[in-house]
Symmetry: none
Subunit: 223 residues, 2 copies
DNA sequence: TTTACAATCCCATGAAGATGGGATTTTAAA
DNA sequence: TTTAAAATCCCATCTTCATGGGATTGTAAA
């Protein structure tokens, strides 16, 4: 009996424990069932939000791999990566998502994702991807790999022309510097009302509604 | 007869024309023979240096894909990429090399390589890689993909021990995301008053007085 | 067992920011 | 030259934020 228990535990410890964070229950259940049908995998968690995942996580049931969506209710998958990696840096996180735009890809990778797969992939490729992870690889859908590679390629002169005027850009600098309207006004030798007016126009042009967004965009080189 | 010629040309135009730049003649010949054994491939060039390749190149025999070594006599493969891509930007270049160090990888990618394979790979994977290229992908050996991904990952070299608690850090994420107190509260399932309270503590700990400062610090990795 | 701190919540007040509506003058493009 | 922006300024209103003052509960180290 003791032997049986130990053997069981041994087998469980050899298996790769996988957590699934996916808000589409149908998809989540399908993937879970697929994973559990493979002898070396065990889907230990199947939940629909990062918050729920973190709440139910303790040091005894830490998964080896997390398959995670990006578009989750509450905390997004990308923020989830940061949280999870900070607490458990050894967990490998594979994003499994419909988003194939550069922004989501690089946000995920920078946050600490070890792989990035598009959701349309056939199930056997999920298996291959997890195996690739354990072989020291980084599973990526072909389109993703291309975008990642492109990141390094020589940029073609694309001179991003900002929609902002020079005065407006000066104001943006002020905002990024953490100045109040009054301080910006003093620095630029204009009245606070002018600053207000410029900021109104900046917000319209950039389609934002507060200075935090402007600061973020500026940091992302989007201005 | 005319029909036959046209058909032949049609077939040739459908085939993927591949050039091989490899100074080890044995390996080069083996790869060439393998490629030519595949119906949709045609190895149009098999040479041992970039200089020779460029000399024999004219607008009529431009390959679709180049498989190239890095350690070549004369001009290195990396230098070669720049030369070739400048003249023929549409050629896809796949590096086929024994170098798996970051320096060579990133030099190649930055110069314009579309793929990076390690030389120990089985021949069928060369076929798969070229097909992946045509499917919009970027063929990479798993080890290479891992290194490329790692490039984006957060460097945890200097273990900046944040003075903030995990709840506080979660709030900071909310602020950086541009959320209002209310939205942060909803996301974290706590009251706005608790958010306020946390933020008061965050400000004290970070010696700041507004959320713009927090966002800036966060962007500078100071949190 | 104190002590300290984290996490939760409440109230009140003043400051700063967002947004709507204007107006005038200067500058640059059509 | 007409027109369209850009740049300047003013006012009113509402929202959000910052900051002060609390309180309670639980945990974890000293």
């Amino acid at each position: 009996m003791v032997f049986t228990l130990n053997l069981k535990e041994l087998i469980l410890s050899i298996m790769i424990n996988i957590a699934l964070i996916e808000d589409d229950i149908e998809i989540g259940d399908a993937i879970r069932d697929y994973l559990n049908s493979i002898s070396e995998f065990r889907c230990v968690v199947n939940t629909d939000s990062v918050e729920r995942f973190l709440n139910h996580l303790n040091d005894d049931n830490v998964p080896d791999v997390i398959l995670m969506d990006i578009g989750l209710p509450g905390m997004s998958g990308i923020e989830g990566i940061k949280f999870i990696k900070e607490k458990y840096p050894d967990i490998d996180i594979i994003m499994l998502t419909i988003h194939y735009d550069s922004h989501h890809i690089f946000q995920s990778l920078c946050a600490g994702a070890s792989g990035y797969l598009l959701k349309n992939l056939p199930f056997p490729e999920i298996k291959q991807s997890i195996e690739m992870l354990y072989a020291g690889g980084a599973p990526m859908s072909p389109q993703i790999a291309r975008k990642v590679i492109h990141y390094f390629q020589p940029k073609k002169s694309k001179e991003i022309k900002s929609p902002l005027t020079s005065k407006e850009k000066e104001i943006v600098v002020g905002l990024v510097d953490g100045l109040s309207y009054k301080m910006i006004a003093d620095r630029m030798y204009i009245s606070v009302e002018t600053v207000r007016s410029h900021i109104k126009n900046i917000y319209k042009k950039l389609h934002v509604h507060n200075k935090a967004d402007v600061i973020r965009k500026s940091f992302h080189g989007e201005i």
